[in-house]
């Protein structure tokens, strides 16, 4: 059953009088409950745009997006969603526990529960020893980890992560990977965007490959490898993108 769904989701950016840039073009996506779904693509392929549309930060030019059958602006739906943005920036004048407490309050979590949850999460992301440190003194990796903790504060059913391992060292990457697998075991649905192929390969049940705003392929890794006669994810990634670029070049050539 699809818990996240997009129907012909399109986003065009208008630059100047006549120039239109395709952010996303008629994307149909279905993420099933309890799976880890990876969105792959080079920079500027529409991964973040897709996530922002799902979360109501951007508005679609056309098409629809649903999470748990609800539109992106639905407040009740957001109660069950956790989000980690790319390169997370937080209120740097707060400490880790203060940040988590602020977000917990917005979810309406009572103080006893939130206190317990904050302790658990700080332990989980190994920031319990720097409780009194303001976020402006955090390293990039620490910010990524507090961001992950913040995205879990409401014990969400759905976790949307935009490049969750950017800035993490190899051990941090491994820990995040293990955490994602553990969350999946707990029945969470995870939608993650990344351009780290090895990371996606290890954790995702299904993937989607985006390029220039188009959804080129979607399915299980094995299924896609067979379909595109690819040896591995890297090979698949390059093949789908090159095929698309060649098709576009032919179209452009025909047009001129």
């Amino acid at each position: 059953m699809a818990i996240i769904e997009t129907k012909e989701l399109t986003k065009h950016y208008i630059l100047g009088k006549k120039k239109i840039v395709v952010g996303l073009e008629k994307v149909n996506l279905e993420v099933n409950q309890g799976e880890i779904f990876g969105i792959l693509g080079p920079n500027g392929s529409g991964k973040t745009t897709c996530l922002k549309l799902l979360l109501g930060i951007l508005f679609p030019t056309s098409g629809q997006a649903y999470i748990m059958g609800k539109p992106p602006y639905d407040v009740e739906m957001k109660q069950h969603v956790g989000f980690l943005p790319e390169n997370p920036y937080y209120y740097d004048y707060l400490t880790g526990p203060e940040l988590l407490q602020f977000y917990a309050s917005l979810f309406g979590i009572d103080s006893d529960t939130s206190k317990k949850r904050i302790d658990e999460l700080l332990e989980l992301v190994e920031l319990h020893n720097v409780r009194r440190l303001h976020l402006r003194h955090y390293s990039k990796g620490m910010l990524e980890r507090i961001g992950l903790a913040a995205s879990l504060i409401n014990d969400p059913e759905i976790l949307i992560l935009d490049e969750p391992t950017t800035g993490l060292d190899p051990i941090g990457c491994r820990d995040t990977r293990n955490l994602l697998l553990k969350l999946k075991e707990q029945g969470k649905t995870i939608l993650l965007s990344s351009h780290f192929l090895s990371e996606v390969e290890r954790v995702c049940d299904r993937i989607a490959i985006f390029h220039r705003g188009y959804l080129l392929a979607t399915g299980t890794l094995d299924g896609l490898n067979k379909q595109y006669q690819a040896e591995n994810l890297e090979d698949l990634f390059v093949k789908t993108i090159c095929t698309f670029d060649n098709q576009q070049a032919v179209k452009t050539g025909e047009a001129t």
Partner: protein, 254 residues
Amino acid sequence: MKKMWLIGLNTFRESIRKKTLYIILIFALIVIGASKLFSFLTAEEELKMIKDVSFSAIEFFGALIAIFGSLYALSGEIERRTIYTLLTKPIRRSDFVIGKFFGVSMIIFVNFILASAFFIGLLIFKKSPPDIQVFKTLLLIFFELILIGSITLALGTFTSDAFNIICSFFLYIVGHLTSYGKELIERMESVVMRGLTDMLYTLVPNYENFNIRDKIVVGLDVSWSYVGWTILYGILYLCIALEIALYFFEKREI
């Protein structure tokens, strides 16, 4: 309502931790400097000068805090991208805008209270405790500051920071000149110009309505009825400003 309050409280906490309140020190130095500067005057004249300088300083520094506080409250969230995480929480966009307004109002209020307390303390020190007229003046200054803050917040939902600052200061200056503007309009010969200026006169909030300090300093009384109507006038403009802010922010892509 609780979520708006939480967002407001977080905005206020930022201003405290980023030491915005230091601007009060500048205010204190100006007022102390003024009291020393006018010490050669008679006691009565000195008090008048202290009141005049203090009211003006409370209003001017308050306006600076209102404009820059409102500007930063909104654009700061967008520039630092903290808004991405905030808007994905179970809050409405209207909660965010009204929460920011609460936060800016708290910043204005605390600065205003500290500056007013310092001013009142100085009056008591000069053996001239403030009468009710002084409090009426301060009350109207406070509502003016809240209105200035809400207008900057509204402008911030659909303009750039630079344009917002220019507009906010333009409105602040023009809003204090509207009384002269009325005379100017009546003298205009061109019907088109008169119509345009009249429209501007109607749209721009008349901040001079909130200025009763000239009367109070020279010992005149201002009625509670005038204070009440002016506050109502301010609240009406404030509601319009917030409605504009909500309208544009609902449609804004981040």
